[in-house]
């Protein structure tokens, strides 16, 4: 196991749990969405760490492809969530 595995793997796990805590505890909807994105980034970091094989070896391309897919799915979900928030505030202002 490489030092990079330790360092980045550990931070991936930590970033994911930081994000999870904020998703569960934050009051603001917008910040919950951001927290979900941060949490996802933690998972992506674990994936990219797994793919790493040292400075001179070609990394495993499969986790890279999975993360690319994950990033696009995350932005789609974020966009839908933000629109829902906007509509909700508009409705509440009308009430």
């Amino acid at each position: 196991m490489l030092t990079a595995h330790w360092l980045y793997g550990l931070s991936g796990c930590l970033i994911m749990t930081f994000g999870l805590r904020a998703v569960l505890l934050n009051d603001s909807l917008l910040q919950r969405i951001i927290a979900l994105n941060v949490m996802g980034t933690g998972v992506f970091m674990i994936l990219i760490t797994i793919a790493y094989r040292g400075p001179d070896a070609a990394p495993d391309p499969i986790p890279h492809a999975l993360v690319l897919t994950g990033i696009v799915v995350a932005v789609s979900a974020t966009a839908l969530a933000l629109t829902l928030i906007r509509r909700l505030t508009e409705e509440q202002d009308n009430d």
Binding site: Y8, S28, Q31, V38, D60, V72, V75, S76
Partner: protein, 333 residues
């Protein structure tokens, strides 16, 4: 770079990432949170590049930090009051309990819940790290990565990440385009576009007039180069969308998207539509779904990626605009 310098860089990057993530999540003000999140995304691109994931670094810069950041900033911009304040009535059980802050018993139980959940997260972090270290230190078979390189010659492209995305696991990518389409149709069902920005002043306009063509050129390059080097439809689509966002900020209303609803629909569905069509054509030719003939694979992938880029760019721009196009009569500028 020698090993010690590398280690120094790694430690620096990891500390920066952890503190930015923590600051993003604990900021009391949503606007600060968004800005820190964008900074986090930018540092993340460095980490991806360091871990030899240039494709992911490009996508992170364009989509993760770039467009998500733009979407979040627009959200804060348009609803400063609600987005910044805590929305108690919406956020479920926890918030309901906090509604009567004056009641000391409720306050106590809410503190108890916070601590329970925090302890749960700490426990989860330990379990995750334990399992991950176990996994990384065991001799995992590398067979999948090997079979990717063994089959790369038949995939039609030489960039292994593009080969996985558009050939070996193309089905994932097809469904991912369906996810994008679902999001944009959901947004259309919910809301109309926001009102636009005022036309830009001469300096910004001057900037726009060279930035937009440069971005379009770059999108084309990323799309083309994706076959053998880092790049591809998603990065290209996001770059194209960035051009759209800039045009929008400069006060251009239609930002190059077609006014007619049916043309707009075609642009939105062409990515998943063409992908599906190629897959079904293979069925008609007696091959499995999405099994490209090796000789044609390169061309088919480029065709699919071009269509995907168009749909991705249009979807991201429309998400930024915040809804379906307004009716023709409002389309004054």
């Amino acid at each position: 770079m020698n090993a010690t310098n590398m280690l120094f860089l790694d430690i620096l990057l990891v500390i920066a990432l952890l503190s930015l993530a923590w600051a993003t999540l604990t900021a009391t003000d949503a606007r600060r949170s968004v800005i820190l999140f964008i900074a986090f995304g930018l540092v993340l691109t460095l980490a991806w590049a360091r871990l030899l994931a240039p494709d992911v670094a490009l996508a992170e810069a364009a989509i993760g930090a770039g467009l998500s950041g733009a979407l979040l900033l627009a959200a804060v911009q348009h609803h400063p009051r609600r987005a910044l304040s805590s929305e108690r009535q919406n956020t479920g059980k926890l918030a309901n309990e906090k509604q009567n802050d004056s009641n000391p018993a409720d306050l106590k139980s809410s503190v108890a819940i916070r601590w329970t959940l925090t302890l749960f997260c700490i426990a989860l972090a330990f379990v995750l790290i334990w399992a991950l270290l176990q996994a990384l230190s065991s001799e995992t078979s590398d067979t999948l990565a090997q079979s990717v390189s063994a089959n790369l010659a038949n995939s039609g492209v030489s960039n292994p990440v593009t080969a996985v995305l558009l050939n070996f696991r193309a089905y994932d990518t097809l469904l991912e385009l369906a996810v994008l389409l679902t999001a944009v149709l959901g947004i259309f069902a919910l809301s109309e576009q926001r009102t636009g920005y005022l036309p830009a002043g001469p300096v910004f306009n001057g900037l726009v007039s060279w930035l937009v063509p440069a971005l379009i050129l770059m999108a084309g390059y990323l799309l083309w180069v994706g076959a053998h080097a880092p790049g591809g439809a998603f990065q290209a689509g996001a770059t194209l969308a960035a051009a759209g966002v800039i045009l929008r900020l400069a006060g251009k209303r239609n930002i190059g998207l077609p006014v007619s609803k049916s043309y707009l629909n075609i642009i939105l569905v062409i990515g998943s539509g063409l992908f599906l069509l190629v897959g079904l054509t293979m069925l008609a030719l007696g091959r499995p779904f999405l099994d490209y003939p090796p000789a044609m694979a390169g061309y088919l992938i480029l065709l699919i990626e071009t269509a995907a880029m168009i749909s991705i760019a249009a979807t991201l721009i429309l998400a930024f605009l915040g809804g379906r196009p307004r009716n023709r009569e409002d389309r004054s500028c």
